[in-house]
């Protein structure tokens, strides 16, 4: 990984000289390495907001709000909102400079105005505000620059029109947070369609925009009770599409963060809808390739659920075991981390229900040839609460763990792991020395029994195959196509 990234940031001079240098014939070292990666030519900014427009844009300069009388302000406010519906082409850095600056300062003025003014929010202002915000923020997001945008490796493409967009978001947040804001009027305009478009924007590659959206959606969820179920359902759809269809959505972490605070507020007992969300949406999110980008937020949501309702522990842990990573060690380490967070809050009665499958998996992790996985699993034995649970149930857990610990204690390539395993074995010995001695004594014969079973299985299958062949010949008239 480090070699890869150093290649990426090669300085420009080094590259151009390598590219033009003739193949060095006199160099005797046959293994000179000259693979050079051309620095990625990045279009750092992008915007789909603008459809070509030939004429330059002219806006009439309006007086400042503070310069007109209180009676005239509402009308001027509306006029300014209408002016701000005009969109500019930010990919062309030279066009309409003066007007872009005018819109920027107008937006700034509007932000200040909604923050400090009183009595400005008349009923006819609502549709105009929503219209201005919609005009500016709702757009088809541009295609991602790289085919396979890897959020861990690639720089995000930033939104070119951010100088205006940022102010629009800020204005909207201040508007929603304003003391005069009345959801009962606003709900006519901030409706399901509005929310749907807002949620689509969470796919924006620009982290600044996603951050603003997070605040906006949080405020809307807080103030519009009638939209809550709808918002939750649409987030479900986004996650399900992400997991089962596209594997691509930039705003998963932000949406999970909002959900974290939503779950916190769920009333007890939990509704079936919420439990379904946990099992059918949140748990499958663990299977995503890009888990590392939102794992912290996801684990937080899961633990929130378990703190609300401990009886969900068993389905959650079974779900994690189902989605346990098969090949990605980094993800395995994350799973182990999340599992420890869960074990930290688990109730002993729940622990007993799940201990067997759980420790079968932990036993596999402990004997992982990837030392970070083994190490992360072995750290559980430093956790006092987990240790106490293991101790209470040592008669069940020790037989599950013993074989791999015993084997690995002799074979693991990494000395640090061997040392950790030694400590774990010692802990087990102190916990339940009689059982420990028994297991050590029968270790060899158990392995032999396993080998014998293995051979029996092979025999069974060999005979089944012979049978299949024989039948295949008998039925060569084609009744059974084998």
């Amino acid at each position: 990984m480090s070699a890869y990234s150093t290649e990426r940031i090669l300085p420009v001079q080094a590259m151009s000289s390598a590219a033009t240098a003739p193949p060095s014939v006199d160099k005797v070292d046959g293994f000179s390495r000259k693979s050079v990666r051309k620095a990625k030519q990045k279009r750092a900014q992008s915007s789909s907001q603008f459809r070509s427009q030939d004429k330059p844009i002219e806006l009439v300069q309006l007086p400042l709000l503070k310069d007109v009388s209180a009676q005239e302000q509402p009308e001027l406010f509306l006029k300014k909102l209408q002016q701000c519906c005009t969109l500019f082409d930010f990919m062309d850095t030279l066009s309409d400079l003066k007007m872009k600056e005018y819109k920027r300062s107008t937006l700034n003025e509007l932000v200040d105005y909604v923050t400090v003014s009183r009595g400005y929010l008349t009923e006819q202002t609502y549709p105009e505000v929503v219209k201005m915000v919609s005009c500016n923020i709702f757009r088809t997001l541009p295609p991602s620059d790289s085919n396979e945008f890897d959020p861990e490796e690639d720089e995000p493409t930033l939104e070119a029109s951010w100088p205006h967009l940022q102010l629009v978001y800020e204005f909207f947040i201040r508007f929603l947070e304003s003391q005069e804001f009345q959801p009962s009027i606003a709900k006519k305009y901030i409706d399901q369609k509005f929310v749907l478009q807002l949620l689509e924007l969470f796919d924006s590659e620009d982290p600044r925009e996603r951050d603003c959206l997070k605040t906006v959606l949080h405020r809307i969820y807080g103030k519009f009770l009638g939209l809550r179920a709808f918002i939750r359902k649409q987030i479900n759809n986004i996650f399900l599409g992400f997991v089962y269809e596209t594997e691509h959505f930039n705003g998963v972490a932000e949406l999970l963060e909002i959900l974290g605070s939503i779950i916190n507020g769920f009333a007890l007992p939990l509704k079936a809808e919420h439990k379904q969300f946990l099992v059918k949406v949140l748990l499958p999110l663990h299977s995503a390739r890009s888990l590392s980008l939102f794992h912290a937020q996801l684990a937080y949501c899961i633990v929130q659920f378990l703190e609300k309702d401990p009886t969900l522990t068993e389905p959650v842990i079974r779900g994690l075991l189902k989605f346990w990573p098969k090949t990605c060690s980094q993800k395995e380490v994350m799973f182990l981390g999340e599992l420890e967070e869960i074990l930290d809050v688990i109730e002993p009665t729940q622990f007993v229900k799940i201990q067997e499958p759980l420790f079968k998996q932990i036993s596999r992790c402990v004997s992982s040839p990837h030392f970070q996985v083994a190490e992360r699993a072995l750290y559980y034995w430093n956790n006092e609460y987990i240790m106490s649970l293991i101790e209470e149930n040592s008669s069940v857990i020790l037989p599950i763990m013993f074989a791999s610990l015993y084997r690995i204690s002799k074979e693991h390539w990494n000395p640090a792991i061997s040392a950790l395993i030694y400590n774990v074995l010692k802990a087990f010995m102190e916990m339940n020395s009689a059982l420990f001695d028994d297991l050590a004594a029968t270790y060899k014969s158990d392995r032999q029994r396993e080998k014998k079973k293995e051979k029996e299985r092979e025999d069974l299958w060999r005979k089944l195959e012979e049978l299949e062949l024989r039948r295949g010949i008998q039925n060569s008239d084609g009744i059974i196509p084998t």
Binding site: P23, S48, P143, E245, K463
Partner: protein, 601 residues
């Protein structure tokens, strides 16, 4: 052998000389339940063997119920199961009993994981054909209805893929129900389901009676094409091709074109991209008149789209679109409407757009003929040959044969050469590799004289490239050149240079000599091999680097068949024997191998 089977099954089976009761199902099911996923997976993959051992009746009464009940497993196991069941008809007793397979497949069609679900649907589609019309109505169609009205989106998504397979073979009452279910799913409130329905719209339209295509499908098509989610709208574009093909020409204008026009100007680039991507199919589906009036301007807009993705997709279709234009107006349309856009694309800001264009632009010359090519296209080819992006140049060079047929490659050689030289030295080895692969083609078209003068030195320089893949490709390239230009040419131009490298201080280059000899000996023939190549190989057996020495052994094994037996005995054998006694273990190994292969022991 039946007797020995008893020792396998734990409970002794009496008189099991027959087949059906050979193994107790418990033993087999134990295998399917094994704790180790890999073993479980292996067992599932051999499910047909288990079924065979059980016989058809017990497969139906014992195995299938077990499978239906224990659907909760790792997705990988479920995927294998879903696949197996699609081929199970004979194992349950033939078409008469095929409906026994429906319950486990129905459960599999509702699981979360997409690949499992898709496989279950695929298997269901497969076995649907094995149902009699009666069974289809009694067993299959109710399953489709259950899935279509399932609670969770997965079952409704799966249902979308099953309508078209049962529709043609059921009664008209059931047909009406199926149409109603499909309509419902097209307006489902879960976008996943609407996407599934939209993606099956074309397929479903094909099995419907024309009157229902006009009444039902068109309204669904129009609704899906204006869905709030662009991921749904773009799937409607795909369906548009099938639908337009089904309708008589006179209905297209009113039923399809308004929606298609709207899609070509959709505010989402993904939808416009889809239109561009499907443009040739759309063009064929709507016919020449609509193409002239509607598609030509739409295509121009796509070529000028503000998103590069859309322009690239459209650029890819330029040749096909032009080819399929009605013959009477083809040239005029290309010259007045398409070519101006193409000219702009040559200097597009986005390299993918230029590269897409470069991969098809040469094809226009056959359509436009010699004069137009020279006057209008040649400047574009030349501009693209000088493009800053190597992929663009490569795409032009890789399609040279199209132009060669029309105007001859000589017209291009002036610009071609610098382009080739630059690509030959590109910093990316994959680019160098790509140009090497076109060398034999270029050599054939440019002729031996031009080649010797301009390109030969490049071919030799690649032999000492610092990337192995390039040296390897360069070696292979030499063989192809010799096949083209003959042994005499080889002896005069390339053999001396290849053999000269045997004295290079870099052992990798010395090895390249050996690799070239391996590749060339057959094409050059016995005389050149014996007289010129063999002495060099033999001399290299004294090389101080072991890798060179064992490659000498390998080379001798390779060129041995070209040499006569006298030469093998007197010259090759002693050297191989010497190498067989080398202190390096690999040299010994390959020398001994060569001795035995050449039968010199």
């Amino acid at each position: 052998s039946a007797g020995s089977c008893h020792s396998v099954s734990s409970s002794g089976m009496a008189g099991a000389d027959g087949d059906d009761s050979l193994y107790p199902i418990a033993v087999l099911i134990d295998e399917l339940r094994n704790e180790d996923v890999q073993l479980r997976l292996n067992s599932i993959k051999k499910l047909s063997t288990i079924a065979l051992a059980l016989g058809v009746e017990r497969t139906r009464t014992e195995l299938l119920p077990f499978l239906t009940d224990t659907i909760y497993d790792e997705d990988e196991v479920l995927l294998a199961l879903a696949e197996q069941l699609g081929n199970f008809t004979m194992l349950v007793g033939g078409p008469e009993y095929v409906h026994c397979l429906l319950p486990p497949l129905e459960s599999l069609a509702t699981v979360e994981e997409t690949v499992v679900r898709d496989k279950a649907v695929e298997s269901l589609r497969k076995i649907s054909h094995e149902h009699s019309p009666v069974d289809l109505e009694v067993h299959f169609e109710p399953l489709v209805k259950r899935l279509a009205s399932g609670d969770w989106f997965t079952s409704r998504t799966s249902a979308c893929g099953l309508f078209s397979v049962c529709y043609p073979r059921v009664s008209s009452t059931v047909k009406a129900e199926i149409r109603q279910h499909f309509r419902n799913l097209c307006s489902d409130d879960t976008p996943m389901v609407r996407r599934a329905a939209a993606s099956k719209l074309g397929e479903f339209a094909k099995v419907l009676e024309l009157e229902y295509v006009k009444s039902d499908i068109i309204s669904l098509f129009t609704a899906l094409a204006s869905d709030e989610q662009d991921s749904v709208r773009l799937l409607a574009v795909e369906a548009c091709v099938s639908i337009a093909t089904l309708l008589p020409q006179e209905d297209l204008e009113t039923l399809v074109m308004p929606t298609l026009r709207q899609a070509a100007e959709d505010k989402s680039w993904r939808v416009r991209y889809m239109v561009a991507d499907k443009f040739s199919e759309l063009q064929k589906a709507v016919g020449p008149e609509i193409t002239k009036n509607d598609l030509v301007p739409a295509f121009q807009n796509l070529l000028k789209d503000c998103e590069a993705e859309v322009r690239a997709a459209a650029a890819n279709k330029v040749k096909e679109f032009c080819e399929n234009l009605p013959e009477d107006s083809r040239e005029t349309i290309i010259m007045t409407h398409i070519l101006p856009c193409v000219k702009e694309l040559v200097s597009d800001t986005n390299q993918h757009v230029k590269s897409a264009l470069a991969s098809v632009i040469m094809g226009l010359s056959t359509i436009l003929g010699k004069d137009n090519t020279i006057e209008h296209l040649l400047p574009l080819f030349l501009a693209q040959l000088k493009d800053e992006c190597p992929e663009v140049r490569l795409n032009i060079i890789s399609n040279l044969d199209c132009v060669n047929e029309v105007i001859g490659i000589r017209q291009l050689s002036q610009s071609l050469l610098p382009a080739i030289v630059e690509l030959a030295e590109d910093a990316k080895w994959r680019v160098r590799l790509a140009i090497i692969e076109y060398m034999p083609l270029l050599a054939g078209q440019l002729g031996v004289e031009f080649f010797d003068e301009k390109l030969n030195s490049l071919c030799m320089a690649w032999l000492v490239d610092h990337v192995y893949a390039i040296r390897e490709a360069a070696t292979c390239n030499l063989t192809k050149l010799v096949e083209k230009f003959g042994a005499e040419w080889a002896q005069n131009t390339i053999v001396p240079k290849v053999l000269g490298m045997a004295n290079d201080p870099n052992y990798l280059h010395r090895m390249t000599t050996l690799f070239c000899i391996n590749a060339l000996s057959e094409a050059c023939g016995q005389e050149i091999t014996t007289k010129h190549m063999l002495p060099v190989v033999l001399k290299m057996s004294n090389d101080q680097v072991a890798n060179v020495r064992f490659n000498v052994a390998k080379s001798l094994q390779k060129i041995g068949p070209v040499l006569d037996s006298n030469c093998l005995q007197t010259e090759v054998k002693p050297v191989l024997e010497k190498l067989a006694a080398d202190q390096d273990i690999d040299v010994k190994y390959f020398a001994q191998e060569a001795i035995s292969v050449l039968a010199l022991a």
